[in-house]
Symmetry: C2
Subunit: 131 residues, 2 copies
DNA sequence: GTCCCTGCAAATCCTTTGCACTCCT
DNA sequence: AGGAGTGCAAAGGATTTGCAGGGAC
């Protein structure tokens, strides 16, 4: 079991992610944190994000755009990814039991209550297309 | 509107993908096709796969492992991704209407009937963990 | 002092792209 | 002939990693 040591960088990364309600990429967090710690490196941001994921303090999201996104909200919820604008929206559903049941029946395994993704086109992009 | 020209490479890629029931990566297809066309290049495989996706003849899957996966089955179905072994399983569900409704309510948009992903641990990996 | 953590840069992995050449039509 | 498709190799974008120095305990 590895012992953790305090690091202001890690605290800053965590605080930065917790203060936002979107799902930023490592890159975006890096730019933001750079304002407070101009010397922080991208490698450190990645290392700490992955560490925080391992500790279960944040989650890594797979949004299909080739970049990892991160979410400070670890409570059970799903995500909707707009394939047109790239936005990632929270889907706070209560049907977890049902979906788990269904997936379990067919996959014979366990479905994570926070790892279900819906892809589509969000309201704004739908509207834009009709113009 | 672009005119398509026949290419034996493209036919081979399509045939190869259609003959399998898993969801291979470009890399895996490349290796397989190389047995028949030793000179085919990885770039050609990628180009054609993307072309076939645009034509709607196959689908590109986002499985969270950093690689694109491809699926010759374009009928509406969902996918289950095992986070332990990386396997991608089909989930042939009939609840599309319900899930669409739910997602639509919260996202205000349209959810693709074939683009819903469940992440978890498959039956085999669940079993393995208890040993 | 020990060992974790950092910054930096190089390396890695997957995918795309530029270019000259080939092969459909 | 014209232009889409190919092979090759280089470029590109995101993430990881090796290493020497710095900081927590």
């Amino acid at each position: 079991m590895k012992t953790l040591k305090y690091s202001r960088q890690r605290e800053s990364i965590k605080a930065c992610l917790m203060s936002r309600h979107d799902h930023p990429t490592a890159d975006v967090l890096y730019s933001t944190i750079r304002e407070e710690y101009p010397n922080i490196s991208l490698g450190t941001v990645y290392r700490n994000l992955n560490l925080l994921v391992e500790l279960g303090e944040i989650r890594k999201l797979t949004c299909g755009d080739g970049k990892d996104h991160f979410d400070a909200d670890t409570s059970p919820h799903y995500h909707f990814v707009c394939q047109d604008c790239g936005r990632v929206l929270d889907l706070p559903m209560e049907q977890i039991g049902d979906l788990n049941q269904l997936a379990q029946t067919h996959a014979g395994g366990r479905v994570d209550s926070h790892a279900i993704y819906f892809y589509g086109s969000c309201g704004d992009c739908q509207k834009a297309q009709t113009h």
